[in-house]
Symmetry: none
Subunit: 215 residues, 4 copies
Amino acid sequence: MEGQKLPRREREKLRQRQEMLAAALDLFSQKGYHNVSMAEIAEKAEFAIGTLYKFFQNKEDLYKALVLEQCDSFEDAILQAIEQPEDEVEKLRNYVRTKTERFRRNLPFVRLFLAESRGASFNIKAGLDEELRKRYYNFLERIALIFDSGIKNRRFKKIAAPYYLAVALDSAIDASLLLWLDAPERHPYPEDPDVILDIFFKGLIEPCFCPWFAK
Amino acid sequence: MEGQKLPRREREKLRQRQEMLAAALDLFSQKGYHNVSMAEIAEKAEFAIGTLYKFFQNKEDLYKALVLEQCDSFEDAILQAIEQPEDEVEKLRNYVRTKTERFRRNLPFVRLFLAESRGASFNIKAGLDEELRKRYYNFLERIALIFDSGIKNRRFKKIAAPYYLAVALDSAIDASLLLWLDAPERHPYPEDPDVILDIFFKGLIEPCFCPWFAK
Amino acid sequence: MEGQKLPRREREKLRQRQEMLAAALDLFSQKGYHNVSMAEIAEKAEFAIGTLYKFFQNKEDLYKALVLEQCDSFEDAILQAIEQPEDEVEKLRNYVRTKTERFRRNLPFVRLFLAESRGASFNIKAGLDEELRKRYYNFLERIALIFDSGIKNRRFKKIAAPYYLAVALDSAIDASLLLWLDAPERHPYPEDPDVILDIFFKGLIEPCFCPWFAK
Amino acid sequence: MEGQKLPRREREKLRQRQEMLAAALDLFSQKGYHNVSMAEIAEKAEFAIGTLYKFFQNKEDLYKALVLEQCDSFEDAILQAIEQPEDEVEKLRNYVRTKTERFRRNLPFVRLFLAESRGASFNIKAGLDEELRKRYYNFLERIALIFDSGIKNRRFKKIAAPYYLAVALDSAIDASLLLWLDAPERHPYPEDPDVILDIFFKGLIEPCFCPWFAK
DNA sequence: GATGAATGAGGTTTCATTCAT
DNA sequence: AATGAATGAAACCTCATTCAT
């Protein structure tokens, strides 16, 4: 109940900030950081340039805020998805599905995210990189924990270190989505997101143990 | 034995070109396309700016030449590695090992390659993107053919469409290497590159069929 | 009385634009298009380079605006001068006098105008050329109409096609002014502008004396 | 008989120089001084750039040599034409005809000539201007002498100072030729060059009709 | 003597950022 | 508090000229 009580002024400011970030997301994801000017963002957001600078110290600051905010929201959704169920298999399915769905619903973010998470953002100064990487490592560890727990529970065979499994699964999802994003007609995204999991599960799970193969 | 030699002038020009490209690779991979000026490249390569422009029409042209040349060399190495052996398993091992070795030997290229292959290069004009993507798709199909042949030979279970298997494997290698590149102390690259393959093989191969499990 | 006034902001902008054009006119007419840099114009006009580019898209655009504006004003003055009187002789006198006076009052423009109207401006891209030439042809036709009307009224003998008469008269004025501009002490411009008209008005050859008319 | 005896070396050099100047004339007249590079001229003339600089100190020097040489040749032809006949009328006819014919035979030169003679060549540094102007003034005085002599012989009425007559006649020829050069279909050059002379020779106004003569 | 590769000053243009209004 | 005009550093690129071969 305390969220709604921001003074009107504050709420107004927050709304303006969101509009600026939305305009920036659109433009950055379409044209890349260096091909978007502050004037362009200001115009798209229907503010004066000076107002932009009231909210963000400089272009880099605006970019960082944008990326961090998007990542926060994305991370929250994933973490929530893997916190619900008991079953490790179900957790992973939730994870893959949530990630897939989020990506498909927020295409502009995907380009940004991949540019950032793939070390491709040397365009942007060090600070962001540093923080995002740490967060990404932590995130991978969260996924690794699921594999670890599955192994401990004897649901999974220990075919590799959990961290590697997490890395491999996460990157496989990204890669599939990226190909689909690039050329949807050539790389139709599998209707059933589990197809990617199959690659990992079909060898991974003790057949006798898991309802997965009953499908 | 001098029949194979280019005239001295030509050799000299080629050498200069290589020096320019080497300087550019270093700088681009460290700071990104937009944060490197032609003056910087010229200075690092120890030529005058004008000389740079004698070799490359403009900055974009220089960048394209650099990326294409590196990719050519990389692609050649991989294709050669997977053409040798009969055995699909051996082909995939060669592929993983060659890619790993190449990456580790040419770090600056990795950053460039990932920036380009990961759709993160909206900074650069369309032409390159287009061509590189096509080449990358073709490359994935080459890998997919190995899986396909393995499946037809009953060496592999058909746990997923070969193309997806190729995508997943390739991206898993990239992701591992990238993590190691970012933070080697945190993500020691597995001494044995086969660790990554294990994830795919342990479920993939008919146990009775393959000496893999005997290891 | 304030209804006719532009908002202050607009007036200010217009004034700045005029200052830029004035600086450009001075420099271009002294040194020629290619020997004047944008930095020079900016400095003379006491603005930053960036401000220049807020008003004009690029150097060529600035040049075109300058030439067209000057020609407009010049053309207006001449057309007004030849629209007043009934009498063709008076019209031509007005024309010569107005042109002379305008030239003498705006020396920098003369150089520009002659450079442009005399096909000497291959330096500048095609667009301007094209438009200015058309306008000049139309202008000559306006003058030709005066000769034509004079001939129809029997005021003038039909000694040549009106268009040729216009060309000859106009070029004679230009040439006189140009010589005076180059070396005033050597080519004092005739106090009475009618001197040039005399050449056209008075017949040159004694009819009785010369076989010319026998033709 | 002494012209043919230049040592072979000298003759060869002269020929090369002519080829360079010919290439330069073509290019300068098509694109203007500032839009032609030394490399372009060298290539068109099929020499190395260095060789160009053996013959001409720099670009400006080459340009000056070109213009002066063309003007020499042009001036010679005209002067020869007006030296032959006794009769002033015939001299003027020869002058108009020779100039017209020369212009039409050497179009590239015309553009250059007009650019130079019309004060439009502020592109080029002062030296050339200075010399060409003096020569042009002298030339005009040669023409003026014809009018003067005609007046003294009572062949011509003294309707204006001879120098003005010369200026007016010469500029009328240039203007006609220029219009024809710009748009031949719109400004067909009079088959008979004398048409222009007519304007000067025939009196324009009916003496009996106009108060002009009363002045 | 001829060559043309190498040079680098200098031109045009963009855009992040400031600050007076 | 919001504005957006003004700024000028810095980028890309050209081309006249030199000089080692």
